[in-house]
Symmetry: C2
Subunit: 140 residues, 2 copies
């Protein structure tokens, strides 16, 4: 992981005067570096060697980052949460693509705000997500 992302992550957290810890910085840096939604399991792998981080702590770091809007999470058809850095801090309105073969999830940011659906009476919308499932370029 490049030093640049680590520094950026550190600054992001410091910017809100919140507690900076190795775990938070490294996880956020990893997610900033990746441009896609990454699962807990994948992140866990990277904390195996030198920079060990407990899996429970990893869950808690991800939860913490999510609550504060630094990242967001999507659940895929394999019932696994995937996390991705928020590059802008606008409210959630996402489009995701999920590959039905390799289960990879990518975020289609450009589709974000295009849908404003009419709901039945009495329902209140808080968040809209468009999920497109299909084959990614590597799996077609």
């Amino acid at each position: 992981m490049s030093r640049g992302f680590t520094k950026q992550a550190e600054e992001i957290i410091l910017g809100r005067a919140e507690r900076v810890t190795r775990g938070r910085v490294q996880v956020l840096a990893m997610l900033l570096e990746e441009q896609r939604a990454v699962s807990h399991h994948e992140l866990e792998q990277r904390f195996k060697g030198k920079h060990r981080l407990d899996r429970v702590t990893l869950y808690r770091v991800l939860e913490w980052l999510n609550e504060r809007g630094y990242i967001h999470r999507v659940v895929g058809d394999d019932r696994v949460w995937r996390f991705r850095a928020n590059f802008d801090l606008k409210p959630h309105q996402h489009a995701h693509f999920e590959c039905t073969r390799c289960t990879r999830v990518i975020c289609l940011d450009d589709l974000k705000a295009e849908y404003d659906p009419p709901l039945p009476a009495g329902y209140r919308s808080q968040e809209v997500e468009l999920r497109v499932r299909g084959l990614c370029p590597g799996c077609v």
Copy 2:
């Protein structure tokens, strides 16, 4: 559960000359009766008393019904599958509403075919789902 749905379920399965079993008929009948997406857990409850059905069998029945397109499934933010009868047999293009308070899921059928998103090059769409999260009338 009314006899009408049982009969309808039976006919649907027989119509494709597939094996008719008590579990399949009853589960499909339940889902035909409900107009919403129901979790495995909820269905399991109803098989507690007289008409007992093993939870593993229930999983397998749901899988079977799903594979054949009699029902479809959605995963909610609680990472739980919910199942719903398919009233038409067109390919999947759904809109779902998920209540962030009571986790209930309803299907917004009328929004079905309204979205045909442009994907990045190389991606192939198989299925589109629009998920709206918010509060249902009972939770507003």
